[in-house]
């Protein structure tokens, strides 16, 4: 675990990564590393809970594109929940939303992904 990742757990086969604080390059790299590690364990469904990351920058978010790319190669999925409105808007502008599912809460996400 790092300062930028608050928790990683698995629920119903979904890897849930909860981020913490400013989602910058360090946070993006930490999430990428966590996903790569779980991919090596053949996990392909990922949910990123950003309830505690209300501020992002484009460098951090662009690292999510790498994760989408890796998951496309294994027919996996990337979802998000608890996005602040500005983070949601940023994802829309960058096109991230077209390649991910976005849910209001983690409960809703787990139901939707499962």
């Amino acid at each position: 675990m790092s300062d930028t990742i608050k928790n990683i757990e698995e629920v119903d086969g979904i890897v849930i990564i909860s981020t913490n604080g400013y989602f910058n390059n360090l946070a993006g790299d930490a999430v990428l590393a966590a996903c790569v590690e779980k991919l090596e364990d053949n996990k392909v469904k990922f949910l990123i809970d950003m309830a505690d990351s209300k501020v992002v920058n484009s460098i951090g978010v662009s690292i999510l594109i790498e994760i989408i790319e890796k998951l496309q190669n294994v027919d996996g999925s990337l979802s998000f929940c608890n996005l602040a409105p500005i983070v949601d808007k940023t994802f829309n502008i960058m096109g991230i939303s077209k390649y991910c599912n976005i849910y209001a809460s983690s409960d809703e996400a787990i139901k939707g992904i499962s």
Binding site: Y22, N24, V55, S62, I86, I93, M94, G95
Partner: protein
């Protein structure tokens, strides 16, 4: 209390210092009674403008001016670095970045353009770069 204050910051280039500019933006937005949505958009645009200046200007400091007027907030992000040619900046597209070797980054100018009401760039290799962006006051 000043009705239309001007605030100037000088930021050294250290990790995450752009967040100090967003704190100032939040205080000014509150003073102007801007909505939470507009405040968040200004902060995000400011983060991107700062990061661009930090990464590309090759200087040690970035200056930020907040200018409050009756109808809008103007934010200037100024560096005295090497300048850039905006015509050479490609408009990013996620489809062009997925499954290709193309770098995933390069979204800053696009985000600033989408989030602010107006954006202007002045840049040359002698005077550096000034990004001037505005957000209109809420009509209420």
């Amino acid at each position: 209390m000043a009705k239309n204050p001007e605030v100037e910051l000088k930021l050294p280039i250290i990790p995450d210092i752009e967040l100090s500019a967003t704190k100032t933006a939040e205080v000014i937005s509150k003073h102007m009674n801007l909505s939470e949505e507009k405040t968040a958009e200004i902060s995000m645009a400011l983060i991107e403008a700062c990061i661009n200046a930090f990464e590309h200007s090759k200087t040690k400091e970035v200056y930020i001016h907040f200018i409050v007027s009756n109808d809008k907030l103007t934010v200037k992000v100024i560096d005295k670095g090497i300048g850039f040619d905006k015509s050479k900046v490609q408009i990013p597209n996620i489809e062009n970045k997925l499954q290709k070797d193309e770098r995933k980054r390069g979204w800053g100018l696009q985000l600033i353009t989408e989030l602010m009401d107006t954006v202007e760039y002045e840049s040359n290799d002698e005077g550096g770069t000034t990004v001037t962006m505005t957000k209109d006051r809420d009509n209420e």
